[in-house]
């Protein structure tokens, strides 16, 4: 594995009184694409939100480039170089497409330029004056991914980018995620669509009830397909 970029150890998290994560641990090397797989309610989204600091009640350790982030507010964590694309996409309806794209501030040098982002998502350029939420679901997803590419963040946290999208769009998003990996982005992907995940990822962490219960590399998946399907309940 390459140099470790993100190291999560014994991460516990709570929503109010309910204890969601019970000691999650995993690692991502620089330039890797890693997924968190698991059924609904396994704690995948909560893990992303805890890494990002959006879930504030958390203990354990989340080290990004060796720096501890547990205890820091989410804006400080974002400025270290993590960027988050939420499951519900979070497109702002009072902002047009371009304002949505330009909203997240630069946190590091080396982000993509606006024209590079438009090259990757030509639809967004065409509709740059439209209200953000007037876009189709696929376009909104592309906007949600596109706007975190400008900031210079090198770790992207993507929460179910294919959810509710037509197969042809899912395929397009898969191509884009591979391109982003090619550009050197490190990506932590949460997915329910295991076929999609298997096609793009280097490694899979399987989650159940707020724990990581298994690890598979891309090569292991074929031999262990039965086991994986049992985990995911498909």
């Amino acid at each position: 594995m390459a140099e470790t970029l993100l190291k999560v150890q014994g991460l516990q998290a709570w929503y109010g009184e309910s204890h969601i994560l019970h000691g999650v641990g995993f690692e991502i090397g620089r330039g890797e694409l890693v997924t968190l797989l698991g059924r609904n309610g396994a704690g995948k989204t909560t893990t992303l939100k805890s890494v990002m600091g959006i879930v504030e009640k958390r203990t354990g350790s989340v080290a990004f480039e060796g720096k501890e982030t547990v205890g820091q507010p989410s804006d400080a964590i974002a400025r270290l170089g993590l960027a988050y694309c939420p499951e519900e996409r979070g497109i702002f309806s009072s902002l047009n497409v371009e304002e949505n794209l330009l909203l997240p501030p630069m946190v590091r040098p080396g982000g993509m330029s606006l024209s590079e982002i438009y090259q990757l998502f030509p639809n967004l350029q065409e509709r740059r004056r439209s209200q953000g939420t007037k876009l189709s679901g696929g376009e909104q997803q592309m906007l949600a991914i596109g706007r975190i590419l400008r900031t210079g963040a090198n770790l992207l946290l993507l929460d179910e980018p294919t959810e509710g999208l037509a197969p042809v769009i899912v395929q397009r998003i898969g191509e884009i995620i591979r391109q982003l990996k090619g550009r050197g982005f490190t990506i932590l992907l949460v997915e329910q669509n295991f076929h999609f995940a298997a096609a793009v990822a280097d490694r899979h962490y399987i989650m159940e009830d707020g724990h990581v219960v298994d690890i598979m590399t891309a090569g292991d998946v074929k031999q262990n397909i039965g086991k994986l399907q049992a985990y995911l309940g498909v």
């Binding site: 990002m52 600091g53 959006i54 507010p73 989410s74 804006d75 964590i77 974002a78 400025r79 960027a83 988050y84 939420p86 979070g90 702002f92 309806s93 009072s94 902002l95 304002e99 330009l102 909203l103 997240p104 501030p105 946190v107 975190i148 900031t151």
Partner: protein
Amino acid sequence: MFELIGIPPQALFGQLLLGLINGAFYAMLSLGLAVIFGMLNVINFTHGAQYMMGAFAAWLLLGILDIPFWVSLVLAPIIVGLFGVVLERLLLKRIYHLDHLYGFLLTFGLALVIEGLFQWKWGSSGAPYPNPIPGGYNLGFMFLPTYRGFVVLAALVICLATWYGIERTKLGAYLRAATENPTLVRAFGINVPRLITLTYGLGVGLAALAGVLAAPIQQVSALMGTNLVLVVFAVVVIGGMGSIMGSIVTGFGLGLIEGLTKVFYPPASNTVIFVVMALVLLIKPAGLFGQTK
């Protein structure tokens, strides 16, 4: 034509000007309320007191330090705005997670305390503030006092500048986005708590600016904000809570309606705004420019 409806033009235009001036204050004050409500989810009942503080700041700056009106126009809103920042850091930020009712109680209580203190120190009879641009123009159909004309223009410029700042600038984009989804905006690396403090400071500064503009027209007194702010809340309800353009248009529009009522049926002039409010609430509960969530 004027003889036909039996109204002398001087009376009509005089009242229209008065309506426009009142409307200018409604617009500036409801604008600040809208900005604060959008971002903090708090209905700032201290707004009238902060407007009064702006007028007092100008009056004290003149009386004690001999600072002229034009300097106070900038200085007083900054002083009162900073007071707002302290208030937000010290008190308001502790109640955002609570029900609206607590924000109401806190800001309403603060208004009573502030107005009480000013009344205790300076009484309630009021003090005059000299008109910085005396004189006027005879337009033929009416006499236009220069300062009053200036107030209407200044209010228009202030309103449009605020609208531009919120709808067309980067800082405004942060404000709009944080109004919708503060958690996500924060996760992008923006210090949302600081943005909230800044918004409250700006909204309070806007109220104080209106207060400075009002000082030469009204008496500077501890309770000058209380009656005005009642009408302003009606304006906000009519325009739609949190809508920027709605506040501006409704503010000026209702000032004019009030002025016209004074010409055609004076007894109703004090209630006409509340009648409009009741009608709007019946037909469009979210207000003319408001959006139901």
